[in-house]
């Protein structure tokens, strides 16, 4: 089960819980699994079937390239962070 | 950039006639006027290039007559002139920091005066050195005006239509005299003075006391500011720290700066005190060192 770090601004949905475990082969499935435990999570993270604009998913320390399709391993650590560009 | 005509007269009479036309502007080095026209800060229907008028390019020093500085003479000629470097160091201080090398090649001292910027570097130095402006009027007459009376407001001078600044005259240097110009800028080049200070003084033969002194300020009033009382306070004094402090305080009192992006009024007043003291010390060293 992947370990998901709940963004602080979503912890109103987790009753303050900082992390949660969720099963899924990719980020989309992980979010669906989170939705089961914490209703309302999905629309906050991936409205309209894509990651919320300006949000990047980081799996095991690597910034994801495939959005919701980024694959997630059984022991993966998943973060949702502001997307970063650069100068 | 607005459209305008261009003329390059070769004698003073033609120049005066052209400059008498409505909307005519004089061009010497062009480092101010071209930018002002381009940025719509000054209008011009006709630009009169004065660089080909021989009389405006005279640069001559005579131990008895003093210095004749033609209105169109570019800064580098003044700054590189050995006798001017020896006798008018305060003028050289000022001239050699008007812009970088590229500006030095073009900008003229006369133009710096006629542009009448309150922050012009050359003007406080010229005032301190008792310089006067020799003007050819439209009617062909010559007038001589002390530089401290030349500017009438930001960008405004006493030059009327058809009048041409011919040259600046600086009296010969007295023995045991020294001068200096200091300006404060945030960078070390390519800046407009936050404050500028020109000083000139003469010591007695023993070099133990001050005979006379003149102090002028830049960027602290609508025009470059002559502060006679500050110089007078030094006359007859041994130029002790207390004397210098008093002169600096009088200069500060006379300064009426504004606050803008180059510095607040308070900061400018503070700098006047600092720079007057520093400039006086340099001028004294020069007067003693000969």
């Amino acid at each position: 089960m992947a370990l998901v770090w709940i963004p602080p601004l979503l912890r109103d949905l987790t009753g303050g819980k900082e992390t949660a475990t969720a099963t899924g082969q990719n980020v989309d499935q992980v979010i669906v699994a989170l939705e089961q435990q914490f209703p309302g999570m999905r629309v906050r993270l991936s409205p309209d079937g894509v990651l919320r604009p300006g949000i990047a998913v980081v799996v095991d320390g690597q910034v994801g390239r495939f959005g919701l399709l980024e694959s997630v391993g059984p022991d993966s650590e998943v973060h949702f962070l502001p997307a970063i560009g650069g100068g | 950039m607005k459209e305008f005509d261009y003329a390059a007269p070769v004698n003073l009479t033609d120049a005066a006639v052209l400059l008498a036309q409505y909307g005519a502007r004089a061009l010497a080095g062009g480092t101010d006027i071209i930018v002002q026209i381009r940025e719509n800060r000054r209008d011009a229907g006709l630009v009169v290039d004065l660089k080909n008028v021989a009389e405006l390019n005279v640069l001559s020093f005579d131990a008895k007559k003093g210095l004749i500085l033609g209105a169109a003479v570019p800064c580098y000629r003044v700054a590189e002139h050995p006798e001017i470097r020896k006798h008018y160091p305060g003028l050289v201080d000022a001239i050699s920091i008007i812009g970088g090398v590229q500006i030095q090649s073009r900008a003229s001292v006369g133009g710096n005066l006629c542009n009448a910027s309150p922050a012009a570097d050359s003007i406080p130095a010229l005032i301190a050195l008792v310089a006067s402006a020799v003007i050819a009027t439209a009617s062909g007459k010559r007038e001589t005006v002390p530089v401290e009376n030349f500017c009438t407001g930001p960008g405004r001078s006493i030059l009327g239509p058809g009048a041409v600044l011919v040259h600046l005259h600086l009296p010969p240097p007295a023995p045991n005299s020294g001068s200096a110009y200091l300006r404060f800028i945030p960078r070390n080049e390519m800046d407009i003075a936050v404050v500028g200070v020109g000083v000139a003084l003469t010591l007695n033969d023993k070099r133990t006391a001050c005979v006379s002194a003149r102090i002028a300020l830049g960027a602290v009033a609508p025009t470059p500011l002559f502060v006679p009382e500050a110089g007078a306070a030094l006359a007859g004094s041994p130029l002790a720290d207390a004397d210098i402090e008093r002169a600096a305080a009088l200069a500060q009192a006379a300064a009426k700066p504004i606050s803008d992006m180059r510095g607040s009024a308070d900061y400018r007043k503070h700098l006047v005190g600092v720079l007057v003291k520093r400039a006086l010390r340099i001028a004294i060293e020069r007067a003693k060192g000969g």
Partner: protein
């Protein structure tokens, strides 16, 4: 070719850049140099007010001016609607992007584009601008971030509500976004602290300051295709933006990146390209638009001004136990400040168990901010690294030792969650600690003192200092972090019959990157750097490439070149096998030559085989498109000595040393150049650069005269020390190097000023007036 100690033959050497001769002879063609028959010149009419409603625009008088051929306003651009598009470096709101090219109904800052004219000469186009009559209804404006956050502040966008990860806030606000990071228990953390320091900081809006103004030349063809030549950090990004704004398919747009005169993040968003295209469509002629310097300052860039409050605590042993930050960044007219990276970088140098960070993206009536070298990180580091210096002072611990003790390293969990892979912060600190600069006598050793005095004596403008030979001097250090990024890159390389290789890559080259990319191809093939001819391709000539930004090009496009080389090697092996009538498995490619494993007499150098290609099946082209992970973050530690004129408040940089983990320096000279240039931009930010706004909401210093970037006379040599902690995520260990060097300077200089005069500067820039005000206040106290 000789092999270097590190096992490389090309990487780590310093060849002459391939585009060098063109650039030292004036032949290189930059955007503004475009000349073509019938070329029209475009100029932009800009808003004279910071905030207002456009009631009407009358262009009739301007159109009547002889020489004027066309005028466009936003009416001629398709309204993209309120949509978000993913464009290269990130998500962009197309309504905002479009309004920033030509205002739609409302102007949000002084200098915003309102209309554009095409005429037969630049001067006539400028004349025409004065004849366009625009009727504005002026609205109250706000240019300060904290004022804009107040409930009674004038709203820039009536419908804007704060984006807070979908948390409904309900009310309209200038606060476009709120982000938050939490780690551990902040209150518990501060309870464990023996020393706590808290301060508030303000930083001014600053500009990237590239010397080349923005430009674009467009030619709209009768077949409905358009070609755009422009100075951009990303040709494909320009293509995507223009396609969205003009509602046309990307295949109908060709963007040709000319040589580019600096970007630093400011030449990613389009300003002129769609407008030039619209004018060309209207006139049927090529149209070139160039900005003047005032346009560049008032309508492009800048990077946000900010308000930052930081509180940090350490226990008695000097271990950081808690850190809290509140950051509010000015987005400018439209949402999108780099608040995210700012908040993620502020404590990134340290391993801190308890952290709480709040960040706010706030719109104000200033130009829409753009990326600028490590966007958001410099503002943040100025605050946190100043606080760290104060903690060290209170704990009486050496600032480098403190950073070594608390520094982030492999395995450290960042405040925003993820864990650092192998990184080189501690290595930079160890090197800095042993460096002659840090070991030299604190108050300016003889060497620096001599440097300083020469400087003073040499130019008349420095007589001020000359008359005061012994001014207070101090030394400061600071560290900084930047993420760097990977993103997508493509390259293709064809083997020529003379054994050279023509490389086409898609990353516009702002600082010699085409050579760094060619060197990686050469290394992989075992040939010389000068045997590769790299060119930057247009959007029809090469595969998709993301922008030149995020310190990604040498990493990602270099990787594409490396993969293209592997592709060439595979094909060369097959070809040699064919010639020798053996199987591919029986051929080895070693050090730029091919060897038959079953017959030792059979050998071909790369050049020899290249000569045989045409006769054995034709040329070989290697291709690669990559989107690599394994990005290595960059850390830097800077040391600076300053002198403070205690009578004027003027700060002089006497000596500067920048130590940085560069992963692997492909071309060390250009790596040093990135570090030196970044450090000097940081020095300018620290000392004198700022947007000075008057109460009419107008930038009063929109020129290089009064926007004071450092000149050569304001600086000493900048010593760049390269520390190589190879990035395991890249075939050659490359880490991005371009951005992080701008991060430490303001804090390092602030710490040096404190060391010199005992005053903590809390505002950027630390200009003479601000330093003097603090000195006088201290005297009075």
């Amino acid at each position: 070719m000789t092999t270097l100690a590190n096992g490389f033959k090309v990487i780590g050497t310093r060849p002459i850049r391939h585009d060098g001769v063109d650039k030292v002879t004036g032949r290189a063609i930059y955007g503004a140099d475009m000349q073509m028959a019938g070329l029209l010149h475009g100029r932009i009419l800009r808003s004279p007010i910071p905030h207002g409603i456009i009631k009407s625009i009358d262009v009739s008088k301007a159109l009547a001016l002889p020489g004027v051929e066309a005028i466009v306003t936003s009416a001629e651009l398709t309204d993209p609607g309120n949509r978000i598009a993913e464009l290269g470096e990130g998500a962009v709101n197309l309504k905002d992007l479009s309004s920033n090219c030509l205002a739609r109904g409302k102007v949000h800052y002084k200098g915003q584009a309102v209309a554009a004219v095409a005429a037969v000469s630049p001067n006539i186009a400028e004349e025409a601008l004065k004849l366009i009559v625009v009727d504005y209804q002026t609205l109250p404006h706000v240019t300060d971030v904290r004022a804009a956050m107040r409930d009674d502040a004038p709203l820039l966008h009536d419908d804007q509500v704060t984006e807070s990860l979908g948390q409904p806030t309900g009310k309209h606000s200038n606060i476009a976004k709120h982000i938050q990071f939490k780690k551990g228990d902040i209150d518990e953390g501060f309870k464990q602290a023996a020393v706590v320091v808290e301060r508030e900081f303000h930083t001014a809006t600053v500009h990237q300051g590239y010397i080349e103004p923005h430009n674009a030349t467009a030619l709209w063809n009768a077949d409905g295709t358009v070609t755009i030549w422009c100075s951009t950090q990303g040709a494909f990004s320009v293509r995507a933006q223009v396609a969205e704004l003009l509602a046309m398919p990307v295949s109908r747009i060709k963007v040709v990146p000319t040589e580019i005169g600096g970007g630093f993040g400011g030449k990613i968003r389009v300003y002129l390209e769609p407008v030039a295209a619209a004018l060309s469509k209207k006139t049927g002629k090529p149209v070139k638009i160039t900005m003047n310097r005032a346009d560049v300052f008032e309508a492009t860039g800048p990077t946000p001004g900010s308000y930052i409050k930081v509180k940090m605590g350490a226990d008695k042993d000097g271990k950081l136990v808690a850190a809290q930050a509140y950051l509010a960044y000015e987005a400018g007219a439209f949402p999108g400040s780099p608040i995210g990276p700012g908040a993620m970088c502020i404590f990134a140098c340290y391993d801190i168990p308890n952290v709480h960070i709040d960040g706010y993206d706030v719109v104000v009536n200033k130009p829409a901010t753009s990326a600028y070298r490590a966007p958001g990180a410099t503002n943040a580091a100025f605050a946190s690294e100043t606080i760290v210096d104060e903690l060290c002072e209170k704990l009486k611990i050496d600032p480098l030792d403190f950073r070594i003790k608390n520094g982030a390293r492999e395995g450290t969990r960042r405040a925003d969650g993820p864990i650092f892979p192998l990184v080189g912060l501690v290595e930079t600190l160890e090197v800095a600690k042993r460096h002659s600069h840090f070991l030299s006598e604190r108050q300016g050793d003889k060497e620096t003192r001599r440097q300083g005095d020469e400087k003073m004596g040499s130019s008349p403008c420095l007589l001020v200092s000359l008359s005061h030979p012994l001014l207070p001097r101090g030394r400061g250090v600071a560290s900084g972090f930047w993420f760097n990024c990977g993103l997508k890159s493509s390259a293709s390389a064809s083997v020529n019959s003379d054994g050279t290789v023509s490389l086409v890559e898609g990353s516009t080259d702002i600082g010699g990157s085409r050579t760094g990319i060619a060197m990686q191809l050469a290394e992989a093939l075992g040939i010389r750097a000068d045997e590769v001819r790299p060119v930057v391709g247009d959007t029809d000539a090469v595969g998709y490439c993301d922008v030149t930004g995020g310190s990604r090009v040498t990493f990602a496009t270099g990787w594409a070149a490396y993969e293209a080389a592997q592709d060439i090697k595979r094909q060369m092996i097959t070809r040699a096998a064919f010639i020798w009538s053996v199987t591919s498995e029986e051929v080895a490619y070693e050090n730029g030559s091919l060897r038959c494993l079953v017959d030792d007499t059979k050998r071909l150098t790369f050049k020899e085989l290249a000569e045989k290609l045409h006769a054995t099946g034709g040329t070989i082209v290697g291709r690669a498109s990559v989107d690599p992970q394994g990005v290595g973050g960059a850390f830097a530690t800077h040391i600076v000595d300053v002198e403070v004129d205690s009578d004027t408040g003027k700060v002089t940089i006497l000596r500067y040393t920048a130590v940085q983990d560069v992963g692997k320096a492909i071309h060390p000279s250009y790596v040093e150049g990135q570090i030196q240039g970044g450090a000097v931009q940081g020095i300018g930010w620290a000392l004198n650069e700022e947007y000075f706004y008057n109460d009419q909401g107008t930038m009063a210093n929109a020129s290089f005269l009064d926007y004071r970037m450092p000149t050569s006379l304001d600086l000493p040599m900048i010593e760049a020390v390269l520390v190589e902690v190879a990035n395991p995520g890249h075939p050659y260990g490359v880490r991005g190097v371009g951005e992080v060097p701008i991060v430490p300077p303001p804090a390092a200089i602030a710490n040096a000023i404190y060391n010199a005069i005992g005053i903590r500067m809390e505002e950027l820039p630390m200009s003479p007036g601000r330093v003097m005000a603090k000195l006088l206040a201290k005297k009075r106290a």
